[in-house]
Amino acid sequence: MSERVQPYRVGVDIGGTFTDLVLLNNQSGALAVEKLLTTPDDPARAVQDGTRRLLERTGTRPESIADIIHATTLVSNALIERKGAKTALLVTAGFRDVLQCARESRYNVYDLALEVPEPVVPRHRTFEIPERILATGEVRVPPDEGAVRRLARRLRRERYEAVAVCLLHAYRNPDHERRVAALLRTEAPDLFISLSSEVLAQAREFERACLTAMNAFVQPVVKGYLARLEADLAALGFRGSYYMGSQGGILTPEAAAQFPVRLLESGPAAGALAAALYGRLIGCPDLLSFDMGGTTAKACLVRGGAPLITTDFEVARVKRFMRGSGLPVRLPIVDMIEIGAGGGSLARADALGLLSVGPESAGADPGPVCYGRGGTEPTVTDADLLLGYLNAAYFLGGEMALDAAGAETALGDLGARLGLSAVRAAWGIHEVVTANMAEALRVHAVEKGVNYRGMTMVAFGGAGPVHAYRIARILGLARVIFPRAVGAFSALGLLSARLAFDLSTSYVTDLASADMDRVHDLYRDMFGQLEPLFTKAGVAWNLVERRISVDMRYKRQGFEVTVPVPEVYLEDGNRAALAEAFDAVYQASYGRLVAGAPVEAVTWRAAALAPPPRFNLRMETGAATGDAIKGSRPVYLREDQGSVEVPVLDRYRLQPGVRIEGPVILEERESTIYIGPGAWATLDELGGVVMTLCEVS
């Protein structure tokens, strides 16, 4: 990642349908984009093909490329589709059913035949190890080494590919897990091994075992993929591959191969990073990132130029919007919330006689009714078409003709069940999805203590620019930016990510009597472990930004609040300042403090971030020539106005310095931007369309 005489950088986002690539010349700021179909059987192939095309098209030599950064949905998909390795789970004797039982409760008490996610490792592949460590870290029973050896040989014989080891209290004392790993390596050297004390060093055995099992389950797949990719890229003359991590930082190939769960959601996270980058480039560090595609709409809050992070994520939910219906991932992950089901969401009349939209989606096949591929139930896209927001003749730049009559019939049927006209039903769908997304965003912002009023939104994805105006109105946002090259926008975000690692240490202590020398030592140790990761990657340690936070709670509570603290508090041993920082975070979240209750520090976190990559981005602003006005069409704006004739412009022909009053439609190949009444559009220095909103009286 260091600055060498290699001006080029490549970002690759391997999505479910498309693989997007960007090539950036960091000296000139010139950007080239490539998009091709993902090759699911061997995702490396599309990357290789795309990279070769980019190089050829731009006449770039592979040696002049400094690094190539990947994001992938491979890990999420492997978990959702359960396409992973033959995996064994090794647990403490007496706890074979840790995954089967999970937490034993129900996420919806009214569904008698409740569906729950299948454990990643089935019961017959879970094995018990005679050993025991206590909560204090003391050893009660040392591991039975003979038993471990015999088990290892059995796993080899039965052709297991991966092993997850999750022993009780290993977050406190990892010795037994390490010993078991050493024995496994001796007896069965080909096994991939994941230790819970390394994957997630936190108390609560189900959540830790679950994540460790997921890591093991995908490890051989991911490692094989990474190895092929590295080999292919090396054959092309590249060095310097990195991977986007779930938390928005960059991982080395070694870290990615060892902890593939840290790649979860790296694709969507890249979109949020791209929005953050865009914000930084235009001097807007706080914004909302909004990405609405065909099957999902995701949002993320960006604060101070970086996306927010959560540790409360679920993967592979069986009920999309039901909290608790997925497998828990207690790792730091870019806080992408799924706020809606995308353009393919199906609309229905429910048992209450109310309109309901999603979470079921028509997906890409059969897709919305208007795709003419056999879909019969109306979707958000069908509604958008009937309302005039989409152009039946210019979808994907005209490559795909839409069946407007079919959409109208389907919407008419739905309307009849609700006692509404087809258009009114379509408007209802548009309103409900938009309002639901706005509400989900609002709740999210409020939970995070962010005042969203007056904020800027960056909207992308195929359907995002259609719905952004109305969300902005509901939330009272000041402006919405529609960047250029929305198709490869996420890939661009990859190039803005920083090389980053984080570590945490569990030291549970009353804050009032915390041994600050010990705290000082544990941070020295953590940063000592982090340093070589950067120097190995060519980043001088004195350029690395260090961040510290402490998870604290009232003593006897079970959950902590993460309190960021300046490093100087620790250097001074300033316990009172730590307590004050805790009070401030707690009061803001819960409206009160617990008088007289002692505060306890639980987890001490250290993060290290390389300097942000120097970024020189000059989006092509030279507009295509010719008249931007393409014509006009009726668009349904509001129930009290009905359909109004609205001008349609070609986004690519907008000239710098223009100001276009809404209502207006701006068409581009991959999306349609809707600028509503009372808003106006201009172009920014990067070629993005900026919609500014003002109050409608």
Partner: protein, 563 residues
Amino acid sequence: MGHDPIALRILWDKLISITQETSAALVRTAFSSVVREGNDYAVVLMDARGNSVAQPWHCPPSFLGTLPITARHLLRRFPPETLRPGDSLVTNDPWLGTGHLPDLTIVTPIFGPRGELVALAGVIAHMADIGGIIDYGGTREVYEEGIRIPMVRLAREGSLDETVLEFIRNNVRVPEDVVGDINAMLAANWVASERVRQLMIEERIEDFTALADEILSRTEGAMREAIRAAPAGVYASEVSLDGLEGSITLRVRVEIAGDTIHVDFAGSSPQNHSSLNSVISYTYAYTAYPLKCLLNPSIPNNEGCYRPITVAAPEGCVLNAKPPAAVMNRNQVGHFIPAAIFSALAEVFPDRVMAHSGSTPVTLEAFAGTGRDGSPYVLLVGFNGGSGAAPGRDGRTSCFPSNMSNTPAEVIELTTPLLVEEKVLIPDSGGPGKFRGGPGQRITIRNLANTPVLHNLVVNRLNHPAQGLLGGRPGRPNRLFLNGRPLRQTRSRLALRPGDAITVEYPGGGGLYPPADRDRDRVERDVRDGLVTPRAAALEYQWERPLKAMPARLPRAQQGGQR
């Protein structure tokens, strides 16, 4: 002014999301593990009259049903015009709501943007201790079971009433946990109040009551329609359970007539001299709950679901006990009501009912001892047996009809000097059926401290295993062991000496439909997973083909493959 179907949908979803946020605030700020790990709490958003309007999807149905009842009692005691912003009301009187003393109900009035009372935030949480004797089953009057807090104003215009708190502190074994949880409950209601106020401003809601009425009448209409679609008639059943003075029988008569349902428990056992007695509010909650599951599971629950359902139980019977009956273990009785209703309606809804659950009733185990730091602790944990099989779905090891989560072994060991020695599923414990009952599990907990620990629980299903329905077979009954020796009583209250270990084998759930109809793949998967032994598979499912490479004895072979 009515909302159209679109606007109403949007506002309704928002109210539900507020309750989810409220419950997250409670869990994250709670002190005792029974709330934060065990899920033994509920939050409900009510209108100013005490009608439930919105709630999360995961809280125990009992509390969701009793909270509005308690709120209406509180409103009669503290009329709306006497309430001020920052006030909160509390009670734990069993006969005013949840049916036993450990559950505190706190209701906080919510004031709108113009300063008028618009709604109520309600929260219930099970306290780690409420005083009294720790003697599940053994109490004979409510006075032995702890402090009975009348309806009082807990907070007045933002300040906690120190007198009330002192009374509580002086009567409980772990005052820090109890007062900590009261603070968490107030934090939850604060979050609910803030969000409702914000919503009213942002959505320009002038009249919250009118909005509530629309939600309730829509729900009520859907519920009545579902009842009308069910075949009218009178359906009866009875179930028996282990009491401390012999079996207790619940007799139920469900009358579906037009768009209403009336449930009568006449003929059920009289109230008894143990703590296994339910009160009418609790009985009501667990009667309405299974009916909602059968009739209209997907619509959000609120007062509208309750209105078409009436419940009667003769005063003085085990489901409508009179004070001063002991009621600590009212769940040991009330949790059987859904099973009785499923039995009564099995032929009416053969494709909807659930077989009886081994996790009925919830068994709360109490451990009271001295922690590693020398301070007293009271640990309440609820582990679960197997749930009953449902159409298309095998039972799991999961709570029903309540919704307790297990407490992680690591959390138990971090907070007490106890050792969770094993927590494993029991082969052949789930009742056979086309859909199999959920497996029971064996849990052994050992006292590692050098001081004795009081262990107390009441188990059920020693003599009355969970029944299968419509041809399904019963699950395995409950068993109890001290240091490996069987204990034959349903009630255990003993001092675990240093090194002693208590084992509970939680019962399996009942099966649904005849086992002969079970899919062969499912039988084989169960055998491979060791949940059903080859012998039982042959016996119950006529399964013959031995699996290739089947270890001779699977469970032992797991111990690192010694054999």
